[in-house]
């Protein structure tokens, strides 16, 4: 009898201790004073020139918000891990962020291969995933996306727009594409092909690829000149984009140039010089220095907190754009924050304008937060806006 009593007493004590240890049944990554957000980025290696300013800007923006008291009384903390642009390290980081650091949400993750490698795990662990940067078209038809929110344009839709715009406004007939041989470039190429099918009188005369490791692209420039193209569309990194336009100019080959928004970085003027004049590009948020007061103010704030970000204004501003809708979701979800409350709050975003991103919309069946771009043109070292928003159909 005594033994039974002792066991019963022990059980009660253990249960009490367990309950005390648990405290309030809080959401992972959310404490009374803090919200923890994680990201894995290439902070070293071949893609560091994207990863460093993007994560730096997110960190600076969090600090800016924390200085104003955080969100609903909680401070934001970013845990950024370096993956060197390597999928195995990206997956290891992602698992560690979720299971050890206990983040409330994951933001971004850069590179198609890295996103693919981490995808199953993030979806299965039911972690909130904000704008994985790896081509939005991979999510079309993907079912388990309750906790996924993407505000990044589709390269395929962008390729269609660039081509049809060139056909209608720039008298494009013979189109050549210079693209990076990976999913980014291939999706752009696919978009241009679809655009050529739609725009009467145009045809694709050359599709010329390069590898991201290539150091020079003169053969590609020669090939495009020989194709007789009057219009060239670029899906490249800033470095290769600058190389190809300079090489084409050297050959005396000056077609109409169009490019993906990935080359809208002002650094292009320094890299490509005079050859980066009269290039038509798309943009999915107002670029810094084009007369949008809110974007300029955001860049000023970022540069004040981390002066290095001023050297990379485009990527820094983009970094704020990636997290902004999520931060608005946190505001709307209120003090009593859980994962599912955040999802409900995100789904109330209708045509929402942030400091950088504009017209963000989510819904119960909609995870593609942005579906519009506009055309800009480079002239004398700066960009000017040419068109109003162009809206394309959402696919997920």
């Amino acid at each position: 009898m005594r033994t039974v009593a002792r066991i019963a007493l022990a059980a009660v004590v253990v249960a009490a201790l367990g309950a005390a240890a648990q405290g309030q049944p809080a959401e992972r990554g959310v404490s009374a004073t803090e919200i923890v957000v994680g990201t894995t980025m290439p902070l070293s290696g071949p893609a560091a020139f994207w990863g460093v300013p993007i994560s730096g800007a997110m960190e600076a923006w969090f600090r800016h918000l924390n200085d104003q008291g955080g969100i609903n009384g909680r401070r934001l903390r970013l845990v950024a891990k370096d993956d060197g642009y390597l999928p195995p390290r990206a997956v290891a980081n992602t698992r560690e962020l979720v299971e050890r650091d206990g983040v409330f949400a994951l933001v971004s993750s850069l590179g198609t291969a890295n996103v693919f490698a981490a995808r199953d795990y993030v979806i299965e662990s039911q972690t909130i995933w904000i704008t994985p940067l790896g081509g939005t078209d991979i999510w079309a038809g993907f079912r388990q996306r309750k906790y996924l929110f993407v505000t990044y344009p589709s390269y395929i839709e962008e390729g269609i727009y660039l081509t049809t715009y060139a056909a209608a406004n720039l008298r494009a007939r013979n189109i050549a594409v210079f693209y990076q041989n990976d999913l980014y470039g291939q999706q752009g190429l696919l978009g241009v092909k679809r655009g050529v099918d739609r725009a009467r009188g145009t045809r694709l005369v050359a599709q010329v690829s390069y590898e991201v490791t290539d150091a020079e692209v003169s053969a590609q420039a020669q090939k495009m000149r020989e194709s007789g193209a009057d219009t060239v569309i670029l899906y490249a990194t800033p470095r290769h984009g600058a190389l190809i336009v300079r090489e084409m100019a050297r050959l005396g080959f000056r077609p109409t140039l169009l490019s993906s928004f990935t080359l809208a970085d002002p650094a292009m003027f320094a890299l490509a010089g005079e050859a980066w004049n009269n290039v038509y590009l798309t943009a999915y948020f107002p670029l810094p220095g084009t007369g949008d007061a809110r974007v300029d103010a955001t860049l000023a704030t970022l540069s004040r907190i981390n002066p290095a970000l001023a050297r990379n204004p485009f990527n820094a501003i983009a970094g704020v754009g990636f997290v902004e809708p999520f931060l608005e979701g946190l505001r709307r979800a209120g003090r009593d924050l859980t994962k599912d409350r955040l999802v409900s709050a995100m789904e109330t975003l209708r045509n929402w304008d942030g400091e950088v991103m504009r017209g963000v919309t989510f819904g119960p069946d909609r995870r593609q937060g942005t579906n519009r771009i506009f055309m800009i043109k480079s002239e004398a070292g700066r960009y000017t806006k040419l068109t109003d928003w162009y809206t394309y159909p959402t696919r997920f």
Binding site: G84, V91, A92, N93, V98, R100, T112, A113, N181, Q186
Partner: protein, 354 residues
């Protein structure tokens, strides 16, 4: 004459009882010398290690360290590559700077076998090992004629060629768009996918290390070492250069193939970019840091160079510099690697206080 201290025989006096279990140093028969594990203390240690490794997939999630399972999978794969590479470089003296190519072949072979032919995972993995070994045999053929830097450049070219083929032969590999690898049902119930994979990967690593230990101590290992030290002398004493050189490449490539299959299953999305020349250098660095020409050295090097980038990721762009500096320092101060240093420390304490 010595009286060997055999178990069961009482020691004559207190003075003869050793402090540590190092009594069985006198070997009377050749077969005794061949035992991989000698003495009860060593057996206990090996048993504890094996039980520990087997328990790892169950233990880590309980301790709230489940995120380490993925790193355990990567470490297992790297251990397998390094041990296989060490058989080739450390034992046979044939330098390969193209091992990422064999890993890539193993990864894509297992992925394609599972995705296109829908074979079960053990068959896919064995197929990966066999296909990789066949390529190893082919690369081994030029090794019969080429030596030193020429062979190194040939293997380097092989690694780059594999990368180029996988990039451009889109119908086979999916090119830079990538290849999706289906999740293999490993058939272990009641465990999460990563637990199952970790268990299988660790088992494969242990089994392949055990095979490597035995290969190294058998006539094959001695033949390889003989070729390394002087291939003319080896041939004169009856070692077939053709057979053993191609065999060394085939075995080493088979190891890399199994590692590739593990990596394919861990990532579930293959891209040629993951198997560049830089990976080959990393594998080579593992055996240099750990210790050339010993199985244990390969294991130590692989574990270190898997864990260091993960735990030092905070230093960001300095990581490659730190990496290079460590390798140069090892070459200068520890040419026998970490395992060599450990052996010397052990010898010192065995001889202490002499």
């Amino acid at each position: 004459m010595f009286t060997p201290l055999a178990p069961g025989r009482a020691a004559p006096g207190l003075a003869r009882i050793p402090l540590f279990a190092v009594a069985r140093t006198l070997v009377e028969r050749y077969e005794d010398d061949l035992y991989l594990v000698k003495g009860p203390a060593a057996w206990t240690a090996v048993a504890a290690l094996l039980i520990g490794l087997a328990a790892l997939p169950f233990l880590l999630p309980r301790l709230g360290m489940g995120y380490l399972l993925f790193i355990a999978v990567l470490a297992s794969a790297n251990v397998i590559v390094a041990v296989g590479l060490n058989l080739l470089v450390g034992y046979a003296g044939l330098i390969s700077l193209g091992h990422a190519g064999f890993v890539a072949i193993g990864a894509y072979a297992s992925g394609l076998l599972a995705a296109r032919l829908e074979v079960p995972w053990p068959a896919a993995w064995l197929g990966a090992a066999a296909i990789s070994a066949a390529f190893g045999f082919l690369v081994g053929l030029p090794a019969l004629r080429l030596t030193g830097p020429y062979l190194t450049i040939a293997t380097l070219g092989f690694g780059i060629a594999v990368y180029q083929v996988l990039t451009n032969w889109t119908e086979l590999s999916g090119g830079r768009g990538g290849l999706s690898v289906p999740a293999l049902g490993l058939g272990v119930g009641g465990m999460s996918a990563i637990q199952q994979l970790a268990l299988v990967a660790i088992t494969a690593a242990v089994a392949l290390c055990w095979i490597a230990y035995n290969l190294a101590r058998s006539h094959i290992g001695r033949a390889l070492a003989a070729i390394r030290d002087s291939d003319i002398a080896a041939e004169v004493t009856g070692v077939s250069l053709t057979w053993y050189k191609t065999l060394a490449f085939a075995i080493s490539a088979a190891y890399a193939g199994v590692a590739g299959a593990i990596i394919a299953q861990a990532l579930r999305h293959l891209e040629p970019q993951a198997f560049t020349f830089l990976e080959s250098i990393t594998y080579f660095a593992m055996i240099v840091v750990g210790g050339l020409g010993t199985v244990t050295g390969g294991i130590i090097g692989a574990l270190l160079l898997t864990l260091i980038p993960h735990y030092l990721s905070g230093i960001k762009q300095w990581l490659p510099i730190a990496y290079g500096a460590v390798i140069i320092a090892m070459m200068l101060f520890e040419p026998q690697g970490l395992y060599g240093r450990w052996l010397r420390i052990r010898r010192y304490f065995k001889a202490w206080p002499l």
